[in-house]
Symmetry: C2
Subunit: 467 residues, 2 copies
C-alpha cells in the first residue's frame, strides 16, 4: 500500500470546481456548442507591486490542450450523483479543439491585460477554468515576488531556500521555474532543480554541527568531502565559528568557498566576519546570509554597506508573504461571435477577443500599453501569441532561459520608478483603445437593457492606471 | 508526450533540500549512525492567531516511513555531481527504521510544542526534514485559517471555493483535508472531495448566465437539470435576478434551493433579497454569499444581522492571506543519547525527546500545557502518540471524521477568549517543566562552554506565553 497523496495525470480532469462540470453538462444537454472567448486577467495590482510577472500561462495552455477524462476517473465522478451517462460518455471522448493565446512567459503585465485567452466551444473552454487559474496563479505570484527580491539584491546572487514552508509539493517545484525566470541564481530544491534546470545548491544545517563533538570537527569533515563548500558558522558563536574556518583553511589547507550566517544582526556580523577573513588573507571566501529575508531586508543590508556576497531567501519569497494571491478572473467575454459582459459592481470585464500592444519610445523605453480588440492595428508590440491552435500546441514548450532573458530585457525597458520596491508615484499607463471602449459601452448597454449609467471611471482600477 | 508536471511517487525522495543529501553523504562517509531526535515545532504564533491547528503530521509520518530511492531517481541525483557511488548504493537500500511521534490530527498547538518528533539514525532523520516540514506546514497553515472562518460563521455553513487561487494542485487538494478537519461544510473542489470525503458542492458561474440569451432562460435551464440548485443572481442586477427566480418558482414550479450573491453590498442585498423571497412566500429559499470573504467579513455580515444562510469562502482562506506561513523548524535535539542544542540568537530549541501534557480544570476546560522530558510524569493528557515504530505505521491512517471531532471537542474545552478572532489579552499558558528547563540550561552551558548567559526570558516568545 502506498501513502503517496497527490494528483496523477489521469486525475487532472477532475481538478475542477464542481460547477464547471455541472455547467458543462447543462451546455451539453442544451446543445450549446458555439465558440466562446474566455479571458484570464487580474483586476487590481496586488498590494505593493508596480508590475506582475506573467508565468505559467504557456505551460498551462499546453497542459489544457492535453486534458482527458479516462473512464476510471469518470466512474469516480459518477459517485457524486450529479452526472448522467450521456454526459460522462461525452467526457470520455473529450478533446480540446480550440485556440489558446498567451503572453510569453516572463512578460510584465498590468491589471485588465489578458494573460491568456481561450477561444473554443463553450463547454470546452468552461472546463479549463480552475486548472488554468490555479496553474498560472501559482507561478505568477511567485515570479512577481521573486523578481522584486532579485532587483533588491542589485546583482548579487539570490538563492531559493524556501521549499520547506511553501504550500505543498507542486508550488515548491513549479516555484523553481518561476524563480529561474525571475533571475534567481540557484535553488536548494533538488527535484525542482532537476525538473527546471536552475542549479542546485546548499550549505549545511545546524544539526550537522551539533551531531559532531565540536564545530571544528564538523567543518573539517564537511569541507574535506566537499572542497569549496559553504560552512554555517552561527550554531554557537558566529565569530568564533569564523575563526575556526580561518584556522582550518590556514592550518590544514581546507578549501572553503563561503561562510553562511543564519541568525543575529546580519549586517554587523557580516562586517566583523569580513574583517577577520580579510585580515587572515582570505578575501576570496564569500559571505552568504539567510534568516527570514525578503526584498526589503535584502535592500536594507545592501544599503547598510554590509559585505554580503549572496542571499538565501526562503519563506517570505516562497509564500509571497505580503501578497500571497492575485485576484485572477477567467471570464466569458464573447459567445457565438457576440461580445458578452456581466455588470456586477466592481468586477468589470473587457468584452470580446483582445490584443495587448506594448508601446516604446525612441530610446526603447516602455511608455504605455494599449488593450484593444484583436483586429485593431496599433503601433507597438502585440504581446499575445498563439500557444495552442485547433487543440494542438503550435510551438515547443518555452525555453526557460529565453523566458529569463525576456523578463530581463523588459526590466531594462521599463520606466525606472516601476523597478523600485515602493509603489511608483505614477503607475504604468494601460490604455483601452477607443474601439474597445466603445464595444464595452455598447455591450454593457445591451446586457443591462440600456438602463446602466456607465461612469467615465468605470474602468479605473485601484493601482492600475487605465485611461 | 505528456505535459503533466508534478511529483510522482518514485520522485518523493528527491523532494529534499540539497543539504540534506550532502549532509547524509557526510554522515554516511563518517559512519555517524547513532540515533538522533529531531523535533518539529514553530517558534512564534503566526500574526493574529491565538492557536494553531496541527494538521498533516500523522499522514506525513506515514509517508516518510514509506520513503524509497528507486535506481532511476538515483541516476538523476548522480547528475548533480555531488554524490559518490557508495552513497547512492546506500540510498538505493534506504528504509526508514525509526520512530515518529505526532500530535493527533486536529490538535490545537502552541509555540515550542512538538507537532512531531523523529527518533532514528541521524542520516535517516535528516533526510526527512523538508518533506515533513512542507507537508505539515501546508495543512497546518490552512486548517488554522479555516477554523477561524468556521468560528466566525457561528454555526452557518462555510464552503471552500478557493482552489483556483491556491498555491498549486497539491495545496488545493490537501487543503480539503484541512478544511474537513476544521469543520467546513463542503468544497467546490471535485478531486479534493473525492480524495478526502468533504461533500462536493457548487453553484454556477456568471459565464453560464451570459451564454444564454437572457438570465431567466439560464436559470430555467439550470434549475430544470438540477432541481433544488443554487442560482447566481448578480450577473446584471441582483434584485432583478431575485425577482426572476421568484417568477420561475411561482409560475413554472421550478425547485430552487438557494440564491447566491457574489458582488456588491452583500448585507444590504441579502436583506433586500430575503424580503422579496419572504414576501413571495419562499422562506425556504436560502441565501448564500461569496466575494473576497474571510473570517472578518463573515463575522461582520453576521454581526450586521444579514439574513445569510451560508458563506462561500475562497482566496483569502486558500492562501491564508494574513498569515501564509508558519515559522516551522525541524531541529536536532539529541544525538547518541545526549541532548543537543544550538545557541543561535532568537532561535531557541528545547533539548531531548519530549512530551506535551494538556491540563484541564474540573469543568474540563484547558488551563495550561506542560512541555517536559518524555519520561516525566504529569497530570494532564499526554498529547504525542506513536505513529511509526521501527519504520512501520502502528495504526491505521487517521479517520478524518475523528480529526474533525477532536478539534471540535478541543474548541469546546479551550478558554473562550482564544476562540475570538482578536488576539486574546492573555495567551494560553505553555509551561516548560522544571526538568526540561534544567536540561535546557545544562545543555546550553555544555555547548557554549559555560560562556553563555541564559537570561530568564530566553524561552519567552512573542505571542506564546512560556513560563
Amino acid at each position: 500500500m502506498s501513502f503517496f497523496q497527490g494528483i496523477s495525470e489521469p486525475e487532472l480532469g477532475l481538478f475542477v470546481d464542481l460547477y464547471e462540470l455541472t455547467m458543462a453538462q447543462a451546455y451539453h444537454a442544451q446543445g450549446l456548442e458555439q465558440p466562446a472567448v474566455f479571458t484570464l486577467h487580474f483586476r487590481t495590482m496586488p498590494p505593493g507591486r508596480n508590475f506582475v510577472v506573467a508565468c505559467g500561462q504557456h505551460h498551462a495552455a499546453r497542459l489544457a490542450s492535453q486534458l482527458r477524462f479516462p473512464r476510471q476517473q469518470l466512474q469516480r465522478l459518477a459517485e457524486l450523483g450529479h452526472f448522467e451517462g450521456a454526459f460522462l460518455d461525452w467526457l470520455a471522448g473529450f478533446r480540446f479543439t480550440g485556440e489558446i493565446r498567451v503572453l510569453p512567459e516572463g512578460t510584465p503585465v498590468f491589471p485588465h491585460e489578458p494573460l491568456l485567452e481561450v477561444e473554443a466551444p463553450v463547454v470546452q473552454a468552461q472546463l479549463l477554468e480552475t486548472l488554468l487559474m490555479n496553474y498560472i496563479s501559482t507561478e505568477t505570484v511567485l515570479a512577481t515576488k521573486a523578481v522584486r527580491t532579485v532587483l533588491a539584491a542589485a546583482g548579487r546572487p539570490v538563492v531559493d531556500f524556501g521549499m520547506r514552508r511553501m504550500h505543498g509539493f507542486d508550488a515548491a517545484l513549479r516555484g523553481v521555474r518561476s524563480y529561474r525566470t525571475a533571475g534567481l541564481t540557484a535553488t536548494s530544491n533538488v527535484l525542482g532543480s532537476l525538473q527546471y534546470g536552475l542549479p542546485a545548491t546548499g550549505t549545511m544545517a545546524h544539526s550537522f554541527i551539533q551531531v559532531h563533538s565540536d564545530e571544528m570537527e564538523a567543518f573539517r569533515a564537511f569541507a574535506r568531502l566537499y572542497p569549496g563548500t559553504t560552512l554555517l558558522v552561527d550554531t554557537y558563536d558566529t565569530l568564533a565559528g569564523v575563526d575556526k574556518v580561518i584556522a582550518l583553511v590556514r592550518d590544514e589547507g581546507l578549501q572553503v568557498g563561503a561562510i553562511r550566517i543564519d541568525s543575529g544582526d546580519l549586517a554587523q556580523l557580516a562586517r566583523a566576519a569580513r574583517k577577520r577573513l580579510d585580515q587572515a588573507g582570505y578575501r576570496e571566501i564569500r559571505i552568504i546570509v539567510s534568516s527570514g529575508l525578503d526584498e526589503w531586508s535584502v535592500r536594507d543590508l545592501i544599503a547598510a554597506g554590509a559585505p554580503i556576497d549572496g542571499f538565501g531567501v526562503g519563506t517570505r519569497l516562497g509564500v509571497s508573504e505580503d501578497a500571497p494571491s492575485l485576484d485572477f478572473a477567467y471570464k466569458l467575454t464573447a459567445y457565438d461571435g457576440e461580445p458578452r459582459l456581466k455588470s456586477s459592481p466592481g468586477k468589470k470585464v473587457l468584452p470580446g477577443r483582445k490584443q495587448v500592444w506594448r508601446c516604446y519610445d525612441q530610446a526603447g523605453c516602455m511608455v504605455e500599453d494599449i488593450i484593444g480588440c484583436h483586429r485593431e492595428q496599433h503601433t507597438g508590440e502585440p504581446l499575445l501569441i498563439t500557444a495552442v491552435s485547433q487543440g494542438q500546441p503550435v510551438s515547443p514548450a518555452p525555453d526557460p532561459e529565453q523566458s529569463r532573458q525576456r523578463l530581463q530585457l523588459s526590466l531594462e525597458r521599463m520606466p525606472k520608478p516601476l523597478l523600485a520596491l515602493e509603489l511608483a508615484d505614477q503607475p504604468y499607463t494601460v490604455r483601452i483603445s477607443d474601439a474597445l471602449e466603445a464595444l464595452y459601452r455598447q455591450t454593457l448597454q445591451a446586457v443591462t437593457g440600456g438602463g446602466a449609467t456607465v461612469a467615465p471611471d468605470d474602468l479605473e482600477t485601484g493601482t492600475g492606471h487605465l485611461k
